[in-house]
Symmetry: C2
């Protein structure tokens, strides 16, 4: 592993760096997108199964959310852990405020959201919900939005005044299990485990009303056993349509971005897990649930047809595009590799050894809402 001054010199600019979650070893791998290389392995982050992270606005620090309730602040420049707290017993994701000053984590046990100072990781607000809490996202105006599995509610925590000001929205549906916010921070969409369909909220509305969308989208009607509920963060906005991984079906759904009506379906190799749009929206890249998770398919968003299909290797877990979409980086867990592909030619450009890699996160995420 590189170390010392020469290596550090590579990281004086942080705009093209990233981290790969190494789930089995509780470590993250610092990667350089331009060099297509690993720079350093940083260890001691605890249980990183189903881990995710966000970045500070200066793209220096990553906040890694572990399944064990660990919140770890990683310094990409010094290549070390800057701070770490175990803030709950069981956690599921987090977010950072638009001004970069607050980091929020949603917890199963104890159920709720805790908000921390991004500099010190001191807790500045504790928002118990009495429920497993999921689907935590950031929204403009120093707000966080999240949903309650047990209560079927969505709460908006406005932190602009310091102390949290909570808006509670009831009737969101039975057992929301995940959620997303659109890239402009306006529409919050919760997936429901307990009923078919999803619920959308217009966060621009002073009193958002739950809107049922896509009746029939959900596991309740799935014709096949659901090996893995799709990641809603994988929802792709391609031009004027969303592309959704179907639940328990070998297809992706196309949905009008204005009214959420279904416009088409495309048959796929397996049950999709992530359907990710290339940043320009011209392609959607899809990976699949076990046992068909060795394959990736590329769909052209104009023809809605699969234009490329290939096998990167066993257990393709995640895909991350470079900010302007010229490359995609794919983690292949059981091959112990991150593979780099040209999105125009589909040519393989490089590979990086990684220990059971899962999520890949480039620092460009620091500049986007709802990730």
């Amino acid at each position: 592993m590189l170390s010392g001054t020469a290596a550090l010199a590579d990281t004086v600019a942080t705009g093209d760096l990233g981290l790969v979650i190494e789930r089995a070893t509780g470590s993250v791998l610092l990667i350089d997108q331009s060099e297509r290389a690993a720079l350093e392995r940083i260890e001691g982050l605890g249980d990183l199964s189903h881990a995710s992270l966000v970045y500070s606005p200066d793209e220096r620090f990553a906040y890694v959310f572990g399944r064990d309730g660990g919140l770890t602040k990683v310094d990409l420049v010094e290549r070390e852990i800057a701070a770490r707290v175990v803030q709950a017993g069981n956690a599921i994701g987090g977010a950072i405020s638009d001004d970069g000053e607050l980091v929020a984590v949603s917890n199963y046990e104890p159920g709720g959201v805790r908000i921390f100072d991004a500099d010190t990781l001191e807790m500045v607000a504790d928002i118990p919900t009495g429920s497993k809490t999921i689907g935590l996202v950031d929204a403009p105006g120093r707000r966080f939005v999240f949903s309650l599995w047990d209560a079927g509610e969505t709460w908006i925590a406005d932190m602009s005044g310091g102390a949290p000001e909570i808006t509670k929205i009831a009737g969101v549906g039975e057992n929301p299990y995940d959620a997303l916010v659109t890239g402009n921070g306006r529409t919050y969409i919760a997936g429901l485990f307990g009923e078919d369909g999803l619920t959308a909220l217009d966060l621009w509305d002073d009193t958002p009303e739950p809107m049922g969308v896509l009746p029939g989208y959900g596991r309740g009607e799935a014709p096949l056993p659901v090996y893995k509920m799709p990641h809603l963060e994988g929802w792709a906005l391609a031009g004027e349509e969303f592309v959704l991984p179907a639940v328990g079906r070998h297809e992706v759904l196309w949905v009008d971005a204005r009214d959420f009506t279904e416009t088409a379906r495309t048959q796929t190799h397996g049950q999709p897990v992530f359907a990710m749009a290339r940043p320009d929206g011209r392609q959607v890249w899809v990976n699949f649930a076990h046992p068909l998770n060795d394959t990736v398919q590329v769909i052209d968003t104009v023809t809605k047809e699969v234009v490329h299909s290939f096998q990167p290797g066993p257990a393709v877990l995640h895909m991350e595009f470079t900010a302007r979409g010229h490359e995609v980086w794919i983690s292949v867990r059981d091959a112990g590799k991150v593979l780099v592909y040209d999105t125009q030619t589909f040519e393989k450009l490089g590979e990086i050894a990684a220990d059971s890699p899962s999520g890949i996160f480039f620092t460009a995420r620091a500049h986007r809402t709802g990730l």
Copy 2:
């Protein structure tokens, strides 16, 4: 001005940095968005009237396009000029390829586009057009798109193969004077000086056909003397509509993003120059042409009404939002200041002394297409 090791430590992370063009002195001011401070002045960039710049993917280097044909590579980490060439007699803007390897400049004299190695600034392609060349933008797939003032053509230069492969599109209209590409890199829109209306091209089409849009949008029908043609880069995509500065009118136009039909107009304080959408699209901030250029107005994109109006000072030339929109930075040339405002409360958060500031460019632009 800060300098030396201690200061450099502030800039090892480059995600929240930016440059302010100081047009009168041929210098740029390195700014830190999080600190709301200037870090260093870098001098010797030549004629920076009407200057613009782009960033390398790692957010370390800026490529500054001067009016005098100067192309200057500025190192934000070392805080110095890394390289500089005077590549033409008279230039107007440039772009960087999606992979960050090529920098292109559009020139009036000699008319054409020249493309340079982003590392060395050695010229790798010379594309004479026999015309003043304007509206140069990048597009996915290592392409550059630009238009010919005299010939009324748009050319697409595909650099994916090394040597430029040129596609020429005729019949774009009389005297295109500026152009933009939508954020997804799909739609190229040229403004016409010689006739009313604009021309749109679908870059996803293998053989793009000029489509006339917004007949009547142009100086030909302007009821007032046109003090300054609006910047098309100022076009704002707010939700499902574009917001355009009208030409020679005290209003902005709202245009459906799908079919470019006009949907509404909003009366403004003066002739708009830039109409910039906050990244979430909820607000549009507008500045104005001389002699009303001391004022900024904020329009709510839901009600389409002016919700805030204020006077930052004499000669408001440019506005730049932080990547997630919580702040806007405004250059007030004749006050010698850059002012920082909270976009939610409109409260002034800070100010930075600058010498005749014009364009403000945050490094987050490195991760976006068509800027």
